[in-house]
Amino acid sequence: MPSTELFLAGTEDHDLRRLSEYREVGGYAALEKARAMEPQAVMGEITGATLRGRGGAGFPMGRKASLLAKNTGKPTYLVVNADESEPGAFKDRDVMGLTPHRLLEGCLITAHGIESTDVFIYIRGEYLHEYDVLVAALEEARTAALLGDVTIVIHRGAGAYICGEETGLLESLEGSRGQPRPRPPFPPVDGLYGAPTQINNVSTIALVPKILELGAGEFAKIGVPSAPGTAVFSLSGNVARPGNYERPLGTTLRELIYDLGGGVADGRELKAIIPGGSSVPVLTPDEIDTPMDYDSIQAAGSFFGSAAIMVIDDRVCMVQLALRAAQFYMHESCGKCTPCRVGTRWLVQLLTKIEVGEAERRDLDLLDDVCDKMLGKSLCALGDFAVYPVSSYLRKYRSEFEAHLGGAGCPLAGISPIEGIFAPVSQHAGHAEVAHVV
């Protein structure tokens, strides 16, 4: 079975960072094809392919473009969200690092489709290597006169998760403090510099050339009808062979974790699966046959998210894991709206109290209620992202939380290999406060 079909096609035997090699695998042919088409026809292909956003929400790209305000007297902008910062997610890193031209070609085709001449790629500041690769590729494309009248600006972020939220990204790109804006107005109407703006994830835009190449009909045959195409799945955690694997949507978690990832590392038992990055609700081992596509995973009570699958084995303490996630979201909360700013810190305090064994049963109820009070009340999704791991771990692993109570402390403290799952957050406020609570 080929491990690369769309995103990473050609990477097995070519260095696609080079324009010449990218051309050898048919690169920029789709751009030529698109430029010979009317913009509406280009967008028609994308809409016909039901290309759903790979950033997490799965909103169809064609429909998003159809919302762009027309005749505003302002330019239309294309913004590519390359601020990949979700713990567990590293798909865009390979898409940019291995096939930068595919992203650039996608940008140029999309720009033609939405009649934009200004493209901004907002790349996570820590992705320095990928930035260099992208800049070099852009320079090659420019020299080869591929850009036409389009300007592509690659802008590095400065280390804030919130700038991956589309309006936070726009604020940051404009030079302001990275904080989300209230919506409405939505970016297609009032986006970058108040102009209509199309924002898509790297992996969404990088699929565009293949749609043009294959045609919407052929593309739609890959994956599942509700979500055609492939995704780059990032396997991490207690898995034998972590890494990025491109597979059609609808591939089951079992296939991804066992067939591709080689199963749970060190022969341990599977305890939990986080299917879409640290922010999504957890799945239990009996849900391993869930297909990884937007609708199936949602039916199972979680989200496709950034297709970052984290495998958790039986040595991991779910309270520690929740605390780790909560610390991350506390650290990354921008501070603009009340529930997220205050709630994320409260969650950390409660989870710390539970982990060290100082909590009582009523603290679990309080934890559950704080989650409830935060959910759906924040300005942007970060407040919800902070809640999903905590509330789902508590619901599905309640007995493990209860085992910590009444002075018992963590039953897995000695062996929990949590460092391998996602990196600890070093944060000025967090650590000091946690220590204080302890």
Partner: protein, 744 residues
Amino acid sequence: MSSELVTLTIDDRQVSVPKGTGLVEAAQVARVEIPVFCYEPRLGPPVGACRMCLVEIEGAPKLQAGCTLTAGEGMVVRSAATSAKAAEGQQATLEFILVNHPLDCPVCDKGGECPLQDLTFRYGPGNTRMAFPKLTFDKPIPVSPLIALDRERCILCYRCTRFSDEVAEDGQLVARNRGARTEIATFEDEPYRSPFSGNVVELCPVGALTSSLYRFDARPWDIQNVPTVCTACPVGCNVSATIREGKVRRILSRNHPEVDRGWLCDKGRFTYPHLRANDRITAPLRRIPRGLSEVSWDEALDSAEEMLREAEGAVVTALSGSETMEIAYGLGRLLRAGLGANSAVLPEATSDTLGAFRLPLSAIAEAELVVVVGDDPVVERAPIVDLWLKEARRRGAELVVCSPSGSVQTPPGEAARLCQSLAQQRNPLGRRLRAAERVVLVWSGPGGGGGARVAELAHALGFEEKPGCGAFHLPATPNGRGVALAWSAAGDKDEANPQPIKVLVVSGDEAAADPSVRALAEDSERVIAITMFHQLVAGWADLVLPATACLERDGTSMNLEGRVQRLRRAVPPPCPDELAWISKLGDRLGVDIPAHASRVFADLAEHVFRDLGLDDIGDRAPLPGRKPFEAPAPGTASATAAPPAAEEHFVGALHLQRYRPLFSGPAVERIRELEFQRPPFEVELARRDAERRRIATGDRVLVRSNGTSVELRARVNRKLVEGVARIAEEHAADLHPSVEVVKA
């Protein structure tokens, strides 16, 4: 906002509101409260930060922030009153806000008038479930000498930073750090130096930003608020004076939407402690061989009567322009009717012809084109007008400022000539002024004929026919218009100054501080001064009668729009007020002058305002309608822009431009906390002028003219027109109009 209506249902009540109305306002129409903290429409677009306004909208799965939505056709909205989900959401928000908010309400200045307290009472949880230590910060932080910041109380509604950013446009208050550690700060911890900084205290919905002058001074349940009008400048912002135990404790805005929109400048807000200044005169003083000595009121009135009678009409009255219309009228009646002494030094005149182009100040915000002429920055003369100009620009208006440091650099003294050229058909800007529908002209600078000149220009441009076009003159004094009007109503003869002047009556501290009045005093045999402060009159007045402050007066005042507004006595003065002794002196000189402002006003109104009674003025005074245009009397033309005297002009000289900074004058000088707002000891030079003299910003320089020399620090002002040395009046001493600047 369009005239098209949309109909929506809020808590089962149907209301129709203009399309574009915010949901919070639409709910008000339906008499439903959507509680808010961060929402404040005057601060620009909503931010949706505090989440207090969560409501349920039919069709939306999640609760929505009501403040960020506008009313839509067919929308079905449920507030906490009818939606358990919304009630729970609002309770959650309050619980979160209170998680880190210290419960120090008993010692918090805001306690008792605190939106957080009030909304917690109505929507909040009855107890707390937060058992962890609250976040702590160093406190209080002096944001400036005027404002203290308590970061623990701060709920991060961003009202203050939005004010700084989007209203005052000074960008000095910022949020820094992120998440729970987010805090309000000034950039680089510099003091918040802005003419409008005090507004953030009033905007703060909790006790995080407090006035350092009011901190711990009073509890909201033992204060009274007296509605009156600020007379620190000619805008006449509507204010409330907070009184406790007979003392003014603070000044708050009283939002007159046409005048001030709820903003005040720091001069208006923070100068009230001058009422209790150490050198306040509270009893009459008479000159003795060495200084002044207190005398009884009977003795004082005897002396005054004697001096005035002996003068046989050779009396000149110097008015400040800060008197109420009643005091000016009373003095006028006393001296003109009583003594036949008609000559007066009046404050900078504003032409009545402006009445033909009258607009409320709020109309500036609607303008498409605004042209400001004159030598002074608007903010120094009428600070709130500056905020209106900024708002106009934010809304897309083009702002053309023709001044020595404006967008169109213009040498000083050119305003009148500029008006003439704008009136001409071939002037390109003039053509645009003619073509546009909403144009505002502003004269901001000295030159007595400013009002007349700008009115002539408006007339030439055909503004009488355009209801959206208007003209303003920013006088140097708060009630100069009213004082001139009242003085002229008290008699009908104009006379040149008598020679010699037997008695000079100096009314008010501004007149007493005016060098030209001082010069007149030198030529007068005797001086009667009516002032608040000892320091001003020591050494040159023969008889001093204590003056009252505007916060101690009943009466009326006319602002720069021509709006007559009502002053109310907030606190009793420490001495009988002016009208009391004017009335008594009137009795002695055989003129009937009532001792009560309302009766004086009735008399005055009969002469000058037909049909205007105090009740018509009310708490938020209306603006009179436009009057037909009458060409200014030819006499006023001569008062225009006498070009700066070219005396002792030598090669390489710079023209000294004196300006009166906003933060100057007898009241400001008496407030220690305002010291940092006062003008630095500096001379501003254009870049080329500085380069030619090898002067850089920060250099010590000597500013010299004909034997006089002042040492100041130089500042290169890149916006300043060449050939000008700009110095604050108080630092310019007696320099002549032509100066040389050299490195010290």
